[in-house]
Symmetry: D3
Subunit: 239 residues, 6 copies
């Protein structure tokens, strides 16, 4: 019997689906769902590099992240109302961008920029990990679009990248926290891993008591199995 | 043979669909499509009136409007980046709010506020008219949600409200402009009408040559037939 | 016996005056008064086009609008204090700009921009219609200033443009609403018409009950007679 | 023969006029002209003190300052466009406020605030000194308005206050610099003096070479004679 | 022979010093130096809790972080110039706040807030880890100040907290990166640990190739030894 | 027996110290102390002139000023939180910049800009005068750094510049006000003088009753003796 509100086993992810090519105008797009968390990911190609990179023959990949006001249980004010993205939003979009760049060979893009917009339509925990996982698919399709038009200097995508959260919930390490778990977990950690199992990013925070090295290793083990499944789904979606 | 890029007859709307209850957490919601224009409308109830209205025993209905960055052919910068909603955004959300308030008896709400968020997922012209048409459905469902919980003092919804654009395209008055028509039309007018055929709002602009009273009457005729169809679809959706 | 607070007949405008060349440094200027509504209109020529228009050999006409803090019955906070123009201000300045561009041949200006500033010194309703009517005079004089210096490629001003508000006040269609009428009117509509009687812009809003096609036609009739008088006054002023 | 571009004698002010009660709604107002510098000053009474002063039984007098975009030879961007008042604007409005407060007994106002708006309609140098001089008249009339309604606890206005600029122009100390002189003067100083000849504020800046104590004394002498004349004009205007 | 630019052994920290009570007015303060990285940490007590916490009988600890413009090799623009803290600044100040709260019993504070300002006077890498380490000392002294005035309901400080960065530099795991190492490291990780060795926060990022679980363990080992030394120094400083 | 809270004689300054070369990366720097007022001054050289000056072969010197949040008795909010520098901050940094430019020959710099950052670490009155006095030393050292690299076209520094505040405190003219005096003084004046005794800037304000010409002369006398001492200390520091 599970202690999880969702009745899932400790190492069970929520149902994940990835639907490609959902946005009519974007060069690459997908709608990714981790259970009730739904994120629309759209990759947009711009035919020039950002100013600080010009003249170096390289490109750039960046990301933006936002939530619709009623993605959440209670309505959230639009960030445009306060005039600037919140600290949380900036942290997340920087994380998505770094994660994508970890698997792209920027020299192959030429002086171009790809922006992946991750807009959360519905939020039930894990929006940043779903965003990274979906953003990879949108990016993949954008790069395929470019390859079909001979815009790449060579293979640009070096690996898959996917992300999942783990945490210690009521003393039990569990995989893929939903909102009910996330708001109560003692420890919350996000892992970004490549298809070949390398670690791109770890962000672990003790919300209550500090955690131990042994617990960290256990969470990492869960994350590895979770990301392996997500990479399988990315492969199916882009096959 | 039509002169319209879409091959539609001058008085033909695009295929319209309204899908209710698409957002898990909102008190009322719908996804409205006017052809390739897709808008997610979510109504959120807040249990207090805005500050300037307190103590009057009345409620308020307001709206917010935004476009996802890649709703459009070319990616559009997020408005949060420039720190404030554009003039166009503010015009549109004020229009949606006025249109909804025209058919609501605010005294029946008590001291509460309903915010209808209209987020454009895909844009092919007519986003403001689709928003108004869908916002009515989200509002309808939010009011039904309140009624089911005995939160209304009496019947709050006085009528339907729907909107459509008309314009003079290559000399021909046409109904429901898409993006290709909108960007080229000589005259562009938005009409907001009630279910009983009353005019709530007219906004007509000559983009090229001024238009005549006769042309105005003709556009109004098209709008009346278009809005009548939209109201039928609202009735079907909420039946 | 009139039902209007001002005792005016339903089709009577307030006393209108237009005084030209009131600003020492502007290329064109006037002080326009619609009764107690006073607007200072100044046209400024800039010897380059806005960035998005460069290299096309055309010019641009734009407008800005503001109210002095104590133009109104109660003092209004300066918009600079909140860091951005309000939605209302943006709507109005976009309207003034569109109205002026409707009667200017932008190709004749060369790559230059004319900005018409409309600053309301005193407000008693109808500030946007007075602004448009006065802005035309300031623009006319700026173009004359340019012509005298051989800066135009040909005739730039195609027609007059003037504006007036109409509304349904206590059930009666009336012309040129003042503040007392405006704040109580059931329907409020602004009409921008050319000297030759063409419609440049209609913005009609039902504040209370929706209005009918017959009422719209009646309001348009009032507006036509009002704008015809305003165009006469523009002719006298610039004779 | 004068060295001044305006042919004035070194100790001659420009023609000064003060026209009272020019704004229909303000509790006190005047249009002050120092030659071609024209400033509209409006005093607005608000029936509560600013937050930081509440509960102390005292009132407050403050000022705001702005220039219309085409008050100047070249059009100036509106400050609302950059989202905040410039450093220069803030310096000037703080100076006006301090100058007025120097001659008001704030305890007599009760918990109320008077805001004096100084809006420059036309600028030819000396806008801050004209503003102070006119603001006193607007304030005087606002206090008279309050007295007539028994709103003052006792005499609130302790003295006159007026201001004038002086400078060293081509080696010659001169009174009341206009724009042509101001932009070329080696030293520029603003003096705010009371009716009884006391110094409220001195702001002197060497634009080129530093100035000496002797020059400072000479400039102060010019300022005293200038302010004495301005106080005479204030008396005439409010008689 | 070390591969490190600084000639340090892989597991050697820079010289660390902590000087207490350096700010005359703050309730607690220190100047912490990790080699050439110098951070001034000041704790300020405010006698009310933040608005969202009121009425719960608990207090709050938060942090703000900034760098002086010329703390860095090249001058950095002040963040006030762009109107908002950068994403990096917000990430860091949120991290410092979370780290401190992990060792404070907020219920003991009563409804009060402590803000720890970390201002970087000189930056040579590791500013966030030095900030956390010094912030603990400032917080410690602020709590002692409160205890001396009987303002605490009981023991508020549960443990020490300190932080250090580790990374993989030229293939070698090293402790406490300076700027030269940080800008070149393949992997960069920040560890926040308690005095009892628990993990409060891990943030690890692969700048180049992904890193492995084994490398993560090795970095954690270095961090544990580094933080143990930092805690010793905190004890010496506050003895 | 002195009436001053600090027991100083009316013409006595606080202990002043100037410590050079305190910032590792800046081209020139000092920590200046006027008693308990401590300001870190750093001069940064940028190898291009500001945009509005380009192509004129001249350089520019500017200054920025800020206070750390807990420099003051009570913590002050960071200005970045409100999104813009306060009016006071802008006044002060404009004053510092003007003061420095009064003694620099900008043509000797070539097309370069020097920014002097004055960051107040601790504030006990007189922060702007300490800033000017210290900024001169940082600028001096920056110019020496440039001279050593043959970056100057000739002698750039024309004179010393230093500043001190004077005021009328309990009826007595006194030199160099600290916070306790400043907040209570009837008149407060800042004087910026050159090494040769010329006046660069005077800013005198009556906080209570207006002051007389005789008092102004007396304050100027105190300022001259104070600045002469400060210039001596600048000479010692840079010897």
């Amino acid at each position: 019997m599970s202690i999880r509100p969702s009745k899932r086993a400790p190492d069970a992810m929520r149902p994940v689906s990835i639907e490609r090519a959902v946005a009519r105008y974007a060069e690459g797009s997908c709608l990714v769902k981790f259970g009730e968390t739904h994120v629309l990911c759209c990759a947009s190609l711009e035919d020039k590099a950002p100013g600080w990179l010009r003249g170096q023959g390289r490109g750039w990949v960046t990301a933006e992240y936002a939530m619709l006001p009623r993605a959440t249980h209670e309505r959230t004010r639009r960030e445009v109302t306060s005039g600037k993205p919140s600290g949380r939003t900036q942290e997340i979009q920087r994380l998505i961008g770094r994660s994508l760049r970890a698997v792209v060979d920027l020299k192959m893009l030429g002086e171009r920029q790809i922006t992946v917009d991750c807009d959360v339509l519905q939020a039930d925990g894990g929006t940043r990990t779903a965003s990274i996982t979906g953003a990879w698919v949108a990016l993949h399709d954008c790069l395929a679009w470019m390859k079909a038009r001979d815009m790449l200097k060579g293979p640009a995508l070096k690996d898959h990248v996917a992300a999942v959260s783990c945490g210690i919930f009521r003393g039990q390490p569990v995989l893929d926290l939903d909102y009910a778990e996330d708001s109560e977990a003692e420890t919350d950690a996000n892992f970004v891993l490549t298809g070949s199992g390398g670690i791109v990013e770890i962000q672990g925070t003790a919300e209550g008591a500090p955690f131990s090295e042994a617990e960290l290793i256990e969470l990492l083990g869960l994350a590895k199995s979770g990301c392996a499944k997500l990479v399988e789904l990315q492969k199916l979606a882009t096959a």
